[in-house]
Every structure is written in structure tokens, then in C-alpha cells.
């Protein structure tokens, strides 16, 4: 059966599905049409996940000439007693909470500002989007040199003004906040853009009705705008939370997990284990747990989104 014939049959059986022969043909056609996508999905998503599960049950140090050795669940067992791993999970959650929280708040505010009909907003909006076009590695490098205690322009200006040097990248809390600042700088424009698009799509008649009903400005915001924006907020939250949880570049360029592990996020620990120490089994176990964490987090948010859709 050729592709054109499959497509023709698919269209045909939609019109007359009662014929058994045609139904069988339709099944064949369906498989032919979804087959390529299925193969790609299996190759790119399912196979790597299954392979990661397989590796995670082995001791495999790439630097050793020996083949992988079956290790059962010992890699997972080690992970749960690995203080560094548990610290990395906590740091990751702290980073995601701070960065995504600030991005949502600032992005939300900016979207409202840009939604006003003031002059120059279009150009300003385009300029604001620029940071999200820069490679995260470059962002990390730029912020590293900006905040560096010795060569950084921020400290230079601060010292010129009579202040003492600020250990942006070498003091625990400050280092984490510095990475959060770089992430906020890069991704707030994206958040703003999504909220801006959602605001633009809100129907005017709803506001007219609210005004006729005598709602005040703040009541309109909390009872009309915010509930209508909820799907957009949840979508941004899912995208940004999952993305921030996987973020590696800023830590790589700015602190390498220091000082003393205070900025060691899970992807950085995974990277050093898998790609520097070349302990593939342990890194794979970590990746599997990270996948579970990301899945749980995103599913919680997706459920929120679905429950909202069900009530609308």
C-alpha cells in the first residue's frame, strides 16, 4: 500500500466505517500513518529512558576497560544515603522556587505594564525580550564576570562608591541569589510574553459586564482577570519549573556548585558524576530519580490545569 493510497483509504473509511473490510484497511492505514512518529518517539524518548534504567542497575566507569557489571539497586541505595545528592535535591528545589516565583511575579507585572496603550511600549517590549535570546552559557559567563569579586564591574562600581567588596559568588546565600538573579534576568521576558499574549486574548465584553455589575478595579483584577489567566499561569509555571529544574549552565559558569555545595543543583551533580568522573551507572540512577522528580512536579501542575478546565 502506498502512502497516498493509505491517506485516501483513511479518508474513505471515515465516511463509511461500517464495512468490515474497510475497517481493517483503516487500521492498517492508521498504523502506517502513525508508524513513523511512533518510531521516532520510541527511538528518542522510550529507548533512552529504558537504557538509562538498564545502566542505572550496573557499575560502569567509562574510564575502566571492563564492561558494565550488574549492580542491582545498589546505585539507588547509595544515592539515598549520599548527603551530596540529598543536598543537591534541596538546592534544586530552593532554586526553582525562588527563580520561578520571582519570574512569575515580575513577568506578570511587566505584562500589565506592556498591556497599557502608552507610547513606546512596542519597542520597549521587543528590547525586553532580548535576554531570552542569549545562550544560557553566555549568560552565565557574563554574570560570572559581572559579579566576580576581583574583576567584576558590579564590585568595581561598588568599591568606587566607597563600599567593600561583596562576595556575590563565594558566600552561600548570595551565590544562590546571584544565580537566581541571572536566571530571572534571562527568563522573565519569556514569562512576560506569555502573560502579555494571554492578556491580549481576554475578551473585552467580560470587563464591560464586570463594570456594569459595579465591580471596582481590584475586584475586576481578582475576580475576573486572575481566574481567566489561571491556565496561562499554570502553563508558564510548568514550563519554567521543569526548565529550571534541569538548568545547568548558570551553575557551571558561575559557581560550579560552590561555595561548599550551596549552589550544587541536581543537574550539576549529575554532570560531574557522569561526564567528569565518568561513573555512568551512578549518574544514570541519579537521572532516573531526577526524571521521576520532574514528572511528579509537572503532573501535579498539569492536574491543577485539568481540574481548572473541568470546572470551566
Amino acid at each position: 500500500m502506498s502512502w497516498t493510497e493509505a491517506i485516501r483509504l483513511f479518508a474513505l473509511v471515515q465516511v463509511k466505517p461500517e464495512t468490515i473490510k474497510l475497517a481493517a484497511e483503516r487500521r492498517r492505514a492508521t498504523w502506517m500513518l502513525i508508524g513513523p512518529a511512533l518510531v521516532v518517539l520510541l527511538a528518542l524518548n522510550v529507548f533512552p529512558t529504558v537504557y538509562a534504567l538498564y545502566i542505572s542497575a550496573h557499575y560502569w566507569l567509562l574510564a575502566e576497560p571492563q564492561p558494565p557489571r550488574f549492580a542491582g539497586l545498589s546505585n539507588y541505595q547509595d544515592l539515598f544515603s549520599d548527603e551530596r545528592f540529598l543536598n543537591a535535591v534541596l538546592v534544586s528545589l530552593r532554586f526553582v522556587g525562588l527563580a520561578v516565583g520571582i519570574e512569575l511575579l515580575v513577568g506578570f507585572g511587566l505584562a500589565f505594564v506592556f498591556n497599557t496603550q502608552m507610547r513606546g511600549m512596542t519597542i520597549l517590549r521587543k528590547i525586553t525580550l532580548l535576554p531570552s535570546l542569549v545562550m544560557p552559557l553566555v549568560v552565565g559567563l557574563v554574570w560570572f564576570y559581572m559579579l566576580n569579586e576581583n574583576f567584576g564591574v558590579v564590585n568595581w562600581i561598588w568599591v568606587m562608591l566607597g563600599g567593600t567588596r561583596v562576595p556575590f559568588l563565594t558566600q552561600g546565600t548570595l551565590a544562590l541569589l546571584s544565580i537566581v538573579a541571572a536566571d530571572v534576568w534571562q527568563w522573565t521576558p519569556f514569562v512576560m510574553l506569555v502573560f502579555f499574549a494571554a492578556l491580549q486574548a481576554l475578551p473585552e465584553y467580560v470587563y464591560e459586564a464586570a463594570r456594569i455589575d459595579g465591580l471596582s478595579g481590584s475586584q475586576i483584577f481578582f475576580r475576573v482577570t486572575l481566574p481567566l489567566l489561571r491556565p496561562a499561569i499554570l502553563i508558564v509555571l510548568i514550563i519554567r519549573a521543569v526548565d529550571a529544574l534541569r538548568s545547568l549552565e548558570l551553575v557551571f559558569m558561575m559557581t560550579r556548585g560552590g561555595p561548599a555545595g550551596d549552589t550544587e543543583v541536581l543537574p550539576w551533580y549529575l554532570y560531574t558524576t557522569g561526564f567528569m568522573s565518568l561513573d555512568l551507572g551512578y549518574a544514570a540512577a541519579m537521572a532516573v530519580l531526577m526524571l521521576a522528580l520532574v514528572t511528579v512536579l509537572s503532573q501535579l501542575l498539569v492536574r491543577q490545569l485539568k481540574s481548572r478546565e473541568a470546572t470551566v
Partner: protein, 459 residues
């Protein structure tokens, strides 16, 4: 303490001393002969063909990138030079080894990696013999460091030690002598720290991960201890035949504790941001005149020695790694050699060898020094007055080599080395940040590395 006239039979732990005069004479003759040979070879070395080199972003390969077009003209062919960061290079070499046919003709190998790579590198001895390539002009530690089990697996191109650089002018002004011991370093750092606005006592690798982990094991070498239980040999250790029983970590030892305490003490005399300082930042801090001393891989001295604007230029003295009590002065030798993957297509081996011989020729070595690589593994080039004038560190390192003060056991060639470095780079960083006491840090590092070794099945 000297180690004159001592040598190792294999492994290249310590270098045999040769009288300096003999070096100069022999070196100049060899230089002239080999330079002539290299020049005549250069034009037809590639003969219109393409060579594929997998390398690292270290000075010598950065210089090759800089003079790439000239090199291609000289060689008469195309040079595909892939420059990668350390970790990426490591992965690519390992993955390339698993392919049926190598995608690269020549690969760069770090000195501690020869043990790991020995099963997939070509033995160059037959090629050396056949072509009459002269290995005697090379520093012996660098030459034998590229050997495993009698096989010559690489030709040194940028082997260099980590040494201590100090500002001669500041030391003279303060009435200080060049530091020989770790106590001298601390005393000098204390005296010079903040003696001028913006001047720190010493810059070093305090950044988390590999920078600090590597520094720890190298400084521990100066306290007379290798990171694992290697057999002793002369004033150092032997890495010739490492057995499972040698894999026991040696961090929770008096030397390990002394190292931890020494690094902690250095913190008081370090530049701001020391906990985020790695190789590039420490050299830059020193070059800009913000530190009186720095630990430095000798080849990186070109950053200030070749920069007319650098405040440190022409004012720097070099000493071997200052040692702890009862330990010998010894600097860790690292750096790069060129080798041929054993899975390279047989028909390409002669070309690969011809290019290695050309890239490591005295003529090319001298060329590299002019463009920012202050390293020479060849005695003939090291004694060249022109080279010494723009890279004063080269003859100094040659002298250290002659005294037997360079060794390669500090980073033993075992597959778990990077894991050891990673544990130390993480735990010791917690100590420097004040989250652990030195005693606790060495115990925790010992525990973690012991777990790694047990997991690997060594004991």
C-alpha cells in the same frame, strides 16, 4: 635537599641530572640538526593531505589555532585541529577508542591518562626506530612519562610542572627569600598580604571541584604523600605497576591533614573570591599585580611574560612547589603528549607519525614559545637564549628537571583519579567555607574515596 643523579628506570617519577653545560652544547647541536631536518621536512609533511588532530584548549594548541594558516602553508596540506575542553576531550577519546576505525589521526594525552589509555594507543617505538627520531633531547620525566610497560605511547609536546611563581621585586623590598617550604610561603604571604593596596599574599585554586581537588593532591605531594597507597620509590612513589592493594586512599593521614590545614591557612592571605578562583583567575590576578605569589602551571606564565602591559612581566621568580616538613621539594608534572590511536586506519599511520615528528620538532617548539606557550620539553630549545629571553620560566623548569624535582606520581594514572579529585574538590571546599574542620574533612574524604574503591572492587 637535592636528588642529584637519581633516576627511575621507568615511569619517569624523577629526572636524571645532566650537567647544564652538556645540555647546552648537545642541545644546540641537536637543535640545529633537528631544526634543519624539520625545516626541510615541513614543506612536504602533509603533501596535500589532511591530518585530523583531537586536542585540548591548552596553550600549545591555542597557539596552533593562532598560527593555523601559517602551519598549513608550511606543512603543505590541511590541518583539522579539534580543540576541546578537558572533560569533552576525555569522553571523545574514550568513545573514539570504541569505534572500529579512529576518526582522528593524532590525539592529545594528558600525562596521568597514559595508564587509562594504554590499551588503545599505538606503540610508537617501531616508528621512532625506523625514522631515527631522537628522544634524547626531551626532558626525561616527560619522555618516560609517556611510556607504559616499555611502550612509548606518546611524544611530549607540552609537558609542564606546576610551580610557585613569586614577585621578585616585592620579595626583595620586604627582605624575603624565595620560599622553599610551606612555612616560608605562609610567612611571606602574611607579610605581603595587604602590604600595598589591592595586593594579596597568594593566589591559588580554591574553586570547588577539579581546581581545588587537583590542588589538594598536588600540595599533598609536597607534604610527601600520594593520594593512594603507592609503593615508595627513592624520595617519591612508583606508578609503574599499580595493584589493587595500592588503591587504598591516603587522605586521612598526617600529610593529608597537614595539607588541609595549610590550605585553610592560605585563605587568610588570599585574594577576594578565592573560593571561586581557578587556573585562569589565579594567573590573571597575579599578572595584574594583585598577588605576590601564585601556584601556576609553568606554561601559563606566557600570559604575563609576553604581555608588555602586565605589571608582573619580567619581575617573576620561579621555585619548585614548596615542601612540608620532612618532605622532598617536588613539583607535579602534567601536560600533554601526542599519540596515535591503535584503531587508526593502517594506511594513515605513516602520515600521523610524520606530523607528530614535525609538531614536536625543535623548530616548531621554538615557534610555539613566540606565540604564547612558555613550555619546552626539549633541552635544546630550553637552552636557546632567544627562548629564555621571552620565556624566563623555561630554563628555570629545565634546571628543576635536571635536579630531579619534577614527578608524576601525585596524579597516579588510575581510572578513579577524577572521582578522587571530585570528592576532594567538594569536601575540602566545605572545609574552606568553614562548614567542616580539617580533621573532619580528611576523614570524610577518606570515607568517600574508600567507598568508591570498594565499589570498583579493588578490595
Amino acid at each position: 635537599m637535592t636528588m642529584n643523579n637519581q633516576r627511575t628506570e621507568t615511569g619517569g617519577s624523577i629526572i636524571r641530572q645532566r650537567p647544564a653545560g652538556q645540555f647546552i652544547t648537545a642541545g644546540l647541536i641537536a637543535s640545529a640538526v633537528l631544526a634543519g631536518a624539520a625545516l626541510s621536512q615541513a614543506a612536504d609533511v602533509l603533501d596535500g593531505q589532511t591530518i585530523r588532530v583531537l586536542a585540548i584548549g591548552d596553550p600549545v594548541f591555542q597557539v596552533m589555532q593562532k598560527i593555523h594558516d601559517d602551519m598549513e602553508k608550511k606543512a603543505g596540506g590541511k590541518i583539522e585541529l579539534g580543540v576541546r575542553p578537558f572533560d569533552v576531550l576525555h569522553q571523545q577519546v574514550l568513545l573514539n577508542a570504541q569505534s572500529p576505525t579512529s576518526a582522528y589521526d593524532i590525539i592529545a594525552i594528558d600525562l596521568p591518562q597514559f595508564g587509562e589509555y594504554k590499551s588503545f594507543l599505538l606503540d610508537l617505538n617501531p616508528l621512532i626506530k625506523e625514522s631515527g627520531f631522537d628522544g634524547a633531547d626531551f626532558a626525561e620525566a616527560a619522555w618516560t612519562g609517556a611510556q607504559v610497560g616499555g611502550k612509548q605511547l606518546g611524544i611530549p609536546i607540552q609537558p609542564h610542572p606546576e610551580i610557585l611563581a613569586y614577585r621578585k621585586d616585592l620579595f626583595e623590598e620586604a627582605g624575603l627569600k624565595p620560599p622553599e617550604t610551606t612555612d616560608d610561603v605562609l610567612a611571606a604571604a602574611k607579610k605581603l598580604h595587604n602590604s600595598k593596596p589591592g595586593l594579596a599574599g597568594i593566589a591559588w585554586n580554591g574553586a570547588r571541584g577539579t581546581p581545588l581537588g587537583q590542588t589538594f593532591i598536588q600540595v599533598m605531594g609536597s607534604f610527601g604523600q600520594a593520594p593512594i597507597d603507592l609503593p615508595k620509590k627513592d624520595h617519591g612513589f612508583s606508578i609503574d605497576n599499580i595493584q589493587p592493594q595500592n588503591m587504598k586512599p591516603m587522605i586521612d593521614t598526617p600529610a593529608g591533614l597537614a595539607t588541609a590545614k595549610y590550605l585553610k591557612a592560605l585563605m587568610d592571605y588570599s585574594p577576594p573570591g578565592i573560593l571561586d578562583m581557578a587556573w585562569d583567575e589565579r594567573v590573571r590576578t597575579f599578572a595584574e599585580g594583585h598577588a605576590a605569589m601564585t601556584y601556576i602551571w609553568s606554561g601559563r606564565s606566557a600570559i604575563y611574560e609576553l604581555d608588555p602591559q602586565a605589571p608582573a612581566r619580567g619581575k617573576v621568580g620561579y621555585v619548585v612547589h614548596p615542601h612540608g616538613p620532612n618532605a622532598a621539594p617536588v613539583s607535579p608534572l602534567g601536560g600533554w603528549s601526542l599519540g596515535i590511536p591503535s584503531n587508526l586506519d593502517k594506511s594513515r599511520i605513516p602520515l600521523a607519525w610524520k606530523v607528530i615528528a614535525w609538531l614536536t620538532s625543535p623548530e616548531m617548539m621554538k615557534e610555539y614559545t613566540k606565540h604564547g606557550d612558555c613550555v619546552s620539553p626539549r633541552h635544546s630549545v630550553s637552552q636557546d637564549s632567544e627562548v629564555a629571553s621571552h620565556c624566563p620560566v623555561i630554563p628555570e623548569v629545565d634546571t628543576m628537571a635536571s635536579k630531579g624535582e619534577l614527578a608524576d606520581w601525585q596524579r597516579p594514572p588510575v581510572p578513579e583519579l577524577q572521582q578522587i579529585v571530585d570528592v576532594l574538590g567538594s569536601v575540602m571546599h566545605e572545609m574552606l567555607a568553614g562548614k567542616r574542620a580539617p580533621e573532619d574533612a580528611v576523614k570524610e574524604s577518606q570515607r568517600q574515596i574508600d567507598h568508591i574503591m570498594r565499589k570498583a572492587g579493588y578490595y
